[in-house]
Symmetry: C2
Subunit: 525 residues, 2 copies
């Protein structure tokens, strides 16, 4: 029996990848959570010599995944990519990276050897197929620090705790302590007797005493902040030094501060630890795809000028700087951002162009700041993680790699929407200046010292992307759905055609769905 | 002003290390939490040729730290260590490691090259001076995964959710959801009006709606589990797949299950993420100390037979297997476990021996299990972290290194007290058998397959340690305190003489305190 079950698991694992394995384990009651729906990659056996030529527009993650999966099965693939590199928004900036943005700014990164910033995607949850491709393609991974009890929360404002960096651990201890005290009191006083049995009440109070580190019933369930969870004024140490705690912040001050409103970020399906990143930069993924697909299959610097369904297949017109060229293939997969795809001359029907135009571009911005001294470790005792604020820089990331080395690259801001656009409107030098002034409110003057290099990206102002990602007013009103089926011989793919928008996972599962649809059509003829 | 402050910080940073930097930053209002109390290492300038000879009993972390700090200042040091290696309880077991325990079991580890288990300390919080020594000694570090939303909680019993592996993320979503719903209702209904102002209530409800992902007031603040935080039956994916969530577990079932009672572990001062480990095994720290101190200063295989204060200094009798030898020095630092030190013939006063005997040994046990397949990643989508249970194995650790490689070593149990002693009483083969049977309850049959090697440690049954650590009935009743001052020319040091017992940090800060006391005495003559 045991052996049979194992054989069964191995069997589905082999043909279907981790996704199928999960579903199967869920079905037989082993796994608590079903993961990615099953994906069965096209095989050479199924294709059986019916190889078709597929032209793929865009060598971002969706295009690369499509080309890789089709190529494995024996399809002829040609990738047309406007940039001089693979990956699209998966972009790692290193020393020497040069970019002219749509505002007219040209930046040339001066990062030291080994230093980089992931300008686009930068973290991978455990359950994303992105990790499966890392495994399959041999891209080494390491933890990405998405949560750190010693990073700060900072809220500018007029409350008692405003404009004061507060460690996550301190905020959590105080919020959880007071929440526990309040709920224990209300429960004990019978306020929830209509919702809770006596057994429930006992179990709840047991939980709250542990969760909030609050006193006994006799002590009024009082939160006094002495557990050490919020940190120490003097750490527990040698001899008689048991540690000195500070009194907790006051209940009203803690509530008014809003520090608790960030906590749920860490519980998110896509954000809860553990998280990962490729060793050496996120672009290790597209470069590994490039190698697996074959460099010669990718035409870089190819700007798409036209896309037409024909009776035989598709015709793509593109330019590599000189005169336009024409490429004929059996099928096309268009992975360009929808708001850009909508502007390309084509014979696509009006409703399909309308569906592409239905996407709402969203902006995001980031700055990488290389320091020649890891002051966040040395002075603030922070090893990776995120400081979150209500300043316009919003999030600051401490590096998840190079611990204890002599330099490191922070993300000085990672923001979206109006904040991103406000920074994007500045010159790169002014963006850095503003980021340093704002960040110094949290970290002190050390934040403005030992700056070695910086590079900033404004995704709305970045050629070939013109957005960080897109949103849809609705994904169920029938407009978005028009892009999920082939229009003649033209298919679409991209994270925008998934429910994991702005994640590489979304691009990958969309590409897989498109590859499956195309392959099913080819093999069922 | 800015420059002045920075100069001040640099100045104290240079002379006092990170600890002083923290205190100073706290004092001028920069850092939210003061860290380790200041430590000023002895210097050659201060010693000024008054070099004394210090014999150190035990080359565990306290002994190594003492020797290292004294050696830097010009003291002559001799370390006597009963084992054939440095580190004491800091012990990394690799292929070829052989150990005969006090029960008469001899194990020889058959781990593959690159595989290991840290049998003693295995994780380092950001604020421990252990990391400072890693930096100073050039020991590379990497994250230790102490928290993983996709690891399991498992409670054997008779409740509705008993004997069912539940992902941490699922347990958290449900517990936080219901807690938020209950507290929001009680607050809204005025049950807490004596404790909360109207402004407090608004802020609290805003927080609870985010924290618990609960409905609006109109929706009765109801928790429905649809946020995705608890996981999906079908993940959000391509096209129209928005993800399918399962209904949350029932309120009474969640409370009865006790799954929430583990959460506070992750908020602990010493356990909150981020945590770290040396690359390649915890014993990289003692071996780096050995190299920095000088291998020739350490006499391995030296069993201490006697310790005497003399008018000139100290005399230590020890054996290296042949006849006893005698070593005379100016001072001794005894870092042996107190319950072992108490058994060594000496002329220590009765009250000092009584203070050593006052320590209560605590047991802990661990088993390392090497698998030739990383089923936790492949089948369960767990990349490092801890599964916690009420089984006698208590904690299981997935490896924090070697992600995506072809093999890995789990900690199959990490338990303390009676559970550890129960496993310790078994033969190593029977320990493994029991660990596999228990672990399979959580992970299924996969847990019993692909086992390549195993090694278990029972600290109470380990020669030269005879405990995992010790506790004290009191650290303030005057008995413990007797060991903090020199008895004649004999000093004591160790994690047991700190408020960070069972941590290397405790051994290090104790050693620093002892070194400081000894150095002050020498230099004030």
């Amino acid at each position: 029996m045991a052996q049979t079950r194992r054989q069964f698991l191995q069997q589905v694992g082999i043909t279907g990848g981790a996704g199928v394995m999960y579903s199967a384990m869920g079905a037989i009651g082993l796994a608590g959570v079903a993961e990615t729906p099953a994906y069965a990659a096209p095989t050479r056996m199924e294709l059986n010599g019916r190889g078709k030529h597929v032209v793929i527009l865009g060598a971002g993650i969706a295009g690369l995944t499509s080309a890789y999966e089709l190529g494995k099965a024996g399809y002829k693939v040609t990738l047309l990519e406007a940039r001089k590199r693979p990956g699209g928004r998966n972009w790692t900036v290193r020393g020497g990276t040069e970019e002219k943005d749509l505002h007219g700014n040209t930046q040339r990164a001066k990062f030291s050897s080994g230093q980089y910033m992931n300008a686009g995607p930068a973290r991978i949850p455990q359950h994303h197929v992105t990790l499966d491709y890392c495994r399959e393609l041999g891209v080494a991974i390491e933890p990405f620090v998405n949560q750190n009890a010693d990073a700060y929360l900072y809220r500018e404002g007029t409350t008692a705790l405003s404009s004061k960096p507060i460690r996550h651990r301190t905020a959590k201890a105080d919020v959880y302590g007071y929440v526990s005290e309040l709920l224990a009191k209300a429960t004990d006083q019978g306020a929830l007797d209509s919702a809770l049995t006596a057994t429930d009440k006992d179990a709840l109070i047991t939980f709250l005493r542990s969760f909030g580190s609050i006193g006994t019933k006799e002590e009024g369930f009082k939160y006094t902040g002495t557990s050490g969870r919020r940190g120490y004024e003097v750490e527990p140490g040698a001899g008689l030094e048991g540690g000195t705690t500070a009194a907790p912040y006051g209940l009203s001050d803690v509530l008014a501060s809003g520090v608790g409103n960030y906590f749920s970020f860490e519980f998110g399906w896509d954000q809860a630890m553990m998280m990962f990143q490729p060793v050496g930069g996120m672009d290790r993924i597209p470069y590994a795809f490039e190698q697996a697909i074959g460099r010669e299959k990718i035409q870089y610097g190819a700007q798409v000028l036209g896309l037409r369904n024909t009776t035989e297949g598709v015709t793509v017109t593109y330019s590599t700087g000189s005169r336009p060229r024409e490429l004929k293939a059996d099928y096309a997969i268009c992975t360009l951002p929808p708001h850009i795809a909508a502007t390309i001359p084509s014979n696509l029907p009006t409703d399909i162009v309308g569906a592409l135009q239905y996407a709402r571009p969203t902006n995001a911005g980031k700055i990488g700041i290389e320091y020649s001294r890891r002051w966040w470790e040395l002075d603030h005792r922070i090893y990776g993680g995120i400081t979150n604020s209500n300043l316009d820089l919003v999030n600051m990331w401490y590096p998840s790699t190079g611990f204890h080395s002599d330099r490191g690259t922070m993300i000085g801001y990672y923001n979206t929407g109006a904040n991103a656009t406000a920074y994007g409107a500045l010159t790169p030098a002014a963006r850095l200046e503003r980021a340093l002034a704002q960040g110094a409110k949290i970290h002190g003057d050390v934040y403005t010292k030992d700056v070695k290099a910086a590079f900033s990206v404004d995704w709305a102002g970045t050629e070939h992307s013109r957005a960080a990602w897109v949103g849809w007013t609705s994904q169920t009103d029938g407009v978005y759905a028009k892009l999920l089926d082939a229009t003649g011989n033209i298919y679409f793919a991209g994270d925008h055609l998934s429910h994991a928008i702005a994640w590489q996972h979304g691009a990958m599962v969309s590409a897989r769905a498109t590859v499956t649809a195309l392959h099913t059509r080819v093999t069922s003829r």
